[in-house]
């Protein structure tokens, strides 16, 4: 069996793996860094063709970005590839707020994070710089920044200006949503050309981790093995340290062994906990890093609800469909009021009123009649409003191994079931009512009309499974992601989050990872 050796072995080739590798390579240039990714690599040259096929035929813009038999019940994205879910992402880079880290001390709810807000804020700035975030400052004092955004915000489109004019009448302030998209040439990537297909950016103006990996590979700073599925971490015979990752090359089916001084799980909220549970051994029968019994527990995310509205404005779908407005007004909840926190977003509605083939009188509509009929019915513009709201997990909000579902190697696949803690269950109705009232306030302000409402049936931007904390009895890793049970095993990104806040999580995953990178770089001995 081929054996590969390095100083740091990063398992997972997504956004946090890329950021970790980049920063480690800067801080410790002589470090041998190996990245293992179960999925395939995409070439930059594939993007324009794949985009075109996706537009014309609805084909997957990232063909082969999932592994057929590597699937989890309850997982919201199947992407496994060099670049991870951030190949597809919309590029939204919202920060959490201090309240997310202080739920227990401020509101008597759930837990506090083992990290100070001001320290996290420093790493938010670094994450924004490395990803290349364009944005404008928030008007709320609680969102104070220590550094400006690296780039000015994307221009508000005609559509968004109409929607902002409308929403501003409610008295709720909206602003541009920060995006990891270049508004000027930045970090070797071009300015955004507004191609309108951010799920596959044909130019590279939107940050995606494959750029970082490509650059690190060209500089010979990392070794990257794609199509390499890690199946088990192996413990030293006497000490509680990890000595190897056992993997299989999915193309050749050849077994591989990766030995390293430090191992970092950067495999996202599903596969990080999964690998720890799969790696159970006689000394850790419940899985590695799992003396607390909390690996795979406290799986979290935020719930969401929204409305589609019709308003008296000229909206042209497709001007920049992934770009929207945000209000951070409800990120904070006064401590003397019932707890409810949420974000608030507005987008143009990308879908349009259907084209009919006959009218109510049964008249056939073809030729110019189709257009006349449609224009008569589709006079107003439509928009989508959505709120992510804060919910907290119960301990048994969990990822477990499902013996009924196995991959081709016989490994049980994960099953994720989200459950809320008691306080969340108690406040759920009230939170939803508050959000509905906010929607109504906006709609009412300019005589718009609600077309329909929706409620999310899954938790978005999921996280958890290896939550961080100072107490090894109630957490899996410390604030740097170092597991309490194994000094040379770290978990970074989404799995370490105790709770998922009430807005997109990627920037937070990256910020925490950059902090972990400093710790790993500082302590590793060559």
């Amino acid at each position: 069996m081929p054996v590969h050796e390095s100083d740091v072995c990063i398992i997972g080739g997504g956004i946090v793996g890329a950021m970790l590798a980049e920063k480690l390579a800067e801080l410790r240039p002589r470090l041998g860094i190996t990245i293992l990714e179960a999925g395939r690599t995409f070439g930059l040259g594939e993007r324009p063709t794949n985009r075109q096929r996706s537009l014309e035929y609805g084909e997957n813009p990232w063909p082969g970005d999932f592994i057929h038999d590597q699937a989890a019940v309850g997982q919201i994205s199947r992407t496994m590839a060099v670049g991870g879910s951030a190949l597809h992402w919309g590029g939204t880079c919202n920060r959490f707020s201090e309240e997310d880290l202080r739920l227990n001390s401020m509101y008597g709810l759930y837990v506090d994070w083992p990290i100070e807000w001001l320290e996290l804020e420093r790493f938010y700035c670094e994450a924004e710089r490395r990803l290349g975030v364009s944005g404008e400052p928030s008007p709320f004092p609680g969102d104070k920044r220590s550094q400006p955004y690296p780039m000015a915000a994307m221009p508000i489109t005609w559509n968004l200006q109409q929607l902002k004019d409308w929403a501003d009448k409610s008295g709720i302030p909206f602003q541009a949503t920060p995006q990891a998209k270049n508004t000027i040439p930045y970090d070797g990537r071009p300015e955004c050309l507004r191609c309108g297909t951010c799920d596959i950016c044909p130019t590279g103006a939107k940050y995606s981790p494959d750029f970082t990996f490509r650059r690190l590979l060209a500089q010979k700073k990392i070794t990257l093995h794609d199509n390499t599925l890690v199946r088990k971490l192996v413990l030293d015979e006497s000490k509680p340290v990890i000595v190897a990752a056992q993997a299989v090359n999915r193309q050749t089916n050849e077994r591989q062994e990766y030995r390293a001084r430090n191992f970092v799980l950067a495999s996202g909220y599903t596969w990080s906990s999964h690998l720890l549970l799969l790696s159970a051994c006689s000394r850790f029968p419940n899985g590695l890093a799992n003396r607390s019994g909390l690996v795979g527990k406290y799986m979290n995310g935020h719930a969401f609800m929204g409305v589609f509205v019709e308003l008296d404005a000229a909206i042209y779908p497709g001007m920049n469909p992934d770009y929207g407005l945000i209000s951070r007004k409800f990120f904070r909840c006064p401590q003397d009021q019932p707890y409810a926190r949420h974000d608030l977003r507005i987008w143009e509605n990308p879908s349009r009123t259907a084209l009919r083939l006959h009218n109510e009188q049964g008249k056939i509509l073809l030729g110019d009649d189709v257009i006349r009929d449609w224009r008569q019915r589709a006079r107003g513009g439509t928009a989508r409003l959505r709120a992510y709201y804060d919910v907290h997990p119960a301990q048994n909000s969990e990822l477990t191994l499902d013996p009924a579902s196995r991959n081709q190697y016989g490994d049980p696949m994960p099953k994720i079931e989200h459950r809320f803690d008691e306080a969340t269950q108690t406040s759920l109705t009230r939170t939803k009512k508050q959000i509905s009232d906010v929607f109504a306030q906006i709609v009412r302000a300019d005589n718009a009309k609600v077309l329909n409402t929706f409620e999310g049936r899954y938790l978005d931007h999921p996280a958890g499974g290896c939550r961080m904390g100072n107490d090894a009895e109630v957490s899996v890793c410390d604030s740097y992601g170092r597991t309490h049970d194994h000094e040379n095993l770290f978990v970074v990104g989404a799995p370490t989050l105790p709770n998922a806040g009430c807005t997109n999580g990627t920037l937070t995953f990256v910020a925490l990872t950059l902090r972990s990178a400093e710790k790993i770089a500082q302590e590793i001995h060559l």
């Binding site: 096929r53 996706s54 537009l55 014309e56 035929y57 609805g58 084909e59 997957n60 813009p61 990232w62 063909p63 082969g64 970005d65 999932f66 057929h68 997982q75 919201i76 994205s77 199947r78 992407t79 597809h88 994307m154 221009p155 508000i156 489109t157 005609w158 200006q161 508004t183 300015e191 955004c192 050309l193 507004r194 191609c195 309108g196 044909p202 130019t203 042209y316 779908p317 497709g318 001007m319 920049n320 469909p321 349009r352 259907a354 084209l355 009919r356 083939l357 006959h358 056939i364 073809l366 030729g367 110019d368 189709v370 257009i371 449609w374 224009r375 999310g456 049936r457 899954y458 978005d460």
Partner: protein, 190 residues
Amino acid sequence: MQRRNFFKGLLASVLPFLLPRWTRVQAHQAAVQPVTMHELARAVLPESLGPKRIQEVADQFENWIRNYKPTAEMSCGYGFTREEATPPSPAVHYVDQLRQLATAAEAEGAPFTKLDGAMQRGLVGRALAAAGLERIPSRPDGKHVAADLLACFYSSSDGEDFLYNAAIERAACRGLQSSSERPAPLKDGV
């Protein structure tokens, strides 16, 4: 065996679109000549597009059919994931449907092209109703060639611009500078 028959049928139906026009004529000499895509396009697309654009849209649809890949991988989705592939070519029954239109026209006493626009649209409308179509689908789905031609056009960037009479150009990489401006009306509405 079933699979072989399926592909044989599919080939027979799609082949006419892949071959030059003269070959198509030869292949169907004995039968009623199907209405051509250009003839259908002139009947169902908006006249205000103008004859040149109508012809181009028909050509683009034929091109779309030619480049269609059945069983191509689709995105697994977000939220509730599932593996999906593109369905068989929607063009499987197009030749039959175009021939049925020609037959229906002959029953009216003239070839399809000789009927006036209202009569042509009447025939197409009845065929669409028989296929259970009330709306133009968001993408061609094989229920009827006329609806799919319209779907292909109106789901395109050009089609959407035509609907809104505005140069949104959503499939183009348009740059950030113009994004704050209201999309300009199309020249002559086209």
